[in-house]
Symmetry: C2
Subunit: 345 residues, 2 copies
Amino acid sequence: MPVGTAATVKAVAQDVLEGIGAEGLGAQIILANTYHLYLRPGHELIARLGGVHDFMSWTRPMLTDSGGFQVFSLSKLRKITDDGVEFRSHLDGSKHFFSPEHSIDVQIALGADIAMVFDECVEHPASYERTRASMGLTHAWAARSKEHFEKHKQRVPWFERVGAGETQRLFGIVQGGMYADLRRESAERLVEIDFPGYAIGGLAVGEPREVTREMIARTLELLPKDKPRYVMGVGYPDEIEEYAKMGVDMMDCVLPTRAGRHGLVFAREGGAIVRMNIKRKEYAEDQGPIDAACSCMVCQRYSRAYLRHLFTTGEALSATLNSIHNLAFYLDTMSRVRGELATTN
Amino acid sequence: MPVGTAATVKAVAQDVLEGIGAEGLGAQIILANTYHLYLRPGHELIARLGGVHDFMSWTRPMLTDSGGFQVFSLSKLRKITDDGVEFRSHLDGSKHFFSPEHSIDVQIALGADIAMVFDECVEHPASYERTRASMGLTHAWAARSKEHFEKHKQRVPWFERVGAGETQRLFGIVQGGMYADLRRESAERLVEIDFPGYAIGGLAVGEPREVTREMIARTLELLPKDKPRYVMGVGYPDEIEEYAKMGVDMMDCVLPTRAGRHGLVFAREGGAIVRMNIKRKEYAEDQGPIDAACSCMVCQRYSRAYLRHLFTTGEALSATLNSIHNLAFYLDTMSRVRGELATTN
């Protein structure tokens, strides 16, 4: 899932997103950040305009996170109680309060197809005791999120319009830090509460990759195979390939767009995935595309020399073209993996 | 002609440019700035890569200015002699020298379809004597530009590739400030030197619009009707409409893209052309398009509310979408004017 933080996948227009990647199928689902949209332009405004799909003119599926991760990583002066989190906006210092109930209210107002329970994201590294206590809070909040969601899900802005009683789906989030037994306990507790999909949160926060892999593997086997299993906030192309092959169904990451803005583009060289820094002098007169095997509109049309020029001169088109290529590269990677899995199974 | 300063029409991809405006015909010709490309990435690099068309992947016509206007408006510590202009780069303070011959060499290396003679742009306001002296220099430089161009035009990077002896075309530039008799003298002198097209330079530099109009009118009648007549650096949509109806064939302006980046978008309201500041609070929940009568991809898809959100949150997509709408608005304006002129004549 490409990340569209403020209801825009940075520097890439919606019609482009609809057509990039393998066979021009485009992104099938994108993510938006509840924390950002809550602050600007505000969830109530978006609800009055029919929900985030209408607001940004995106008819395909969308997912909103709970806001929790951003509250813990971006905001200032957080105060956490069992009830929720008081924090100050990273934009203007204004004071806000998110509880599981409020996160759900905001997400119902935004109206993405998939909403997430409000969870606490523990810092890394964290002790066993700290992680265990935090996980307990997350479980209590998951139950409260679900209860509130079930009670109010018909308030979604498009409820009447779509009809047939259709509502959003609320996914649970497994926590438990880097402790396999806590991950097990968390997965079991979440499955007990019962959600239509499960995320694995709190990974890719600085731990070694073997640990990420182990936590994913241990957790996956405890989650129902017939429901979507989603690893949040990963990763590099080789990581998403690896996790998909382990059985992960959904992932989201800012990397293709954020790396693109910083001049980092992905390519395949002899079967291996490489990262190229497009600003390097060696590309100054390079008339080849980023990746000769890539069929994206950027590789079909523009040279490394031109992309380097756009980056070094600070032109806006640089972020756009690099992001389009990287997003296409990610979607192509997933398409290839799906093909391989279909053949294998 | 949309302006693509550094071989990119800011924030708009080439495939979008090819399809915007009336009947999806796109921009038929774009402009690039010699001064900027000379500094970065350098004209010799662009020549080695086949010229600016190949460099930026744009197969339609292009025009480069002479670099004169930017030398006089952007660079530092200029020293003008009869021979040329010594200046320091606005980027890094490095010292450079542009003569008519050097400007032509750079433009031949860039290889746009149309090149411009190197002229001095007089400041505004300027006395009669100052303007007359500057005009004399401009005429001498025009003759030297043409002589150098004729001698070296076969060096254009695509000369062998295109074949049939095809080369660029060099246009002259009429100066003369805000003095009708100097404009007359300049036009006559330029026609005497003989160019395949003529520009009217040194206007829209702060003078009242009636003066611009008068200078254009007085000059146009002295320039051959069977050759392109080009007013440089104008203007607002109502201005380009007015000048086109007076007989001007070509115009270029950064306004559609620069205004777009600043949140200013153009629309028609009851026959009149209005400028909207998209960041205004009144658009916060406005679900209508910028211009209900506009068929551009922005007006077909996005609301004022969304465009306001993109601008106020500083999202890159804001500049892209505003610029696309404004460019389409300009091209549509010109298309309409052409239709009206075809009916009238």
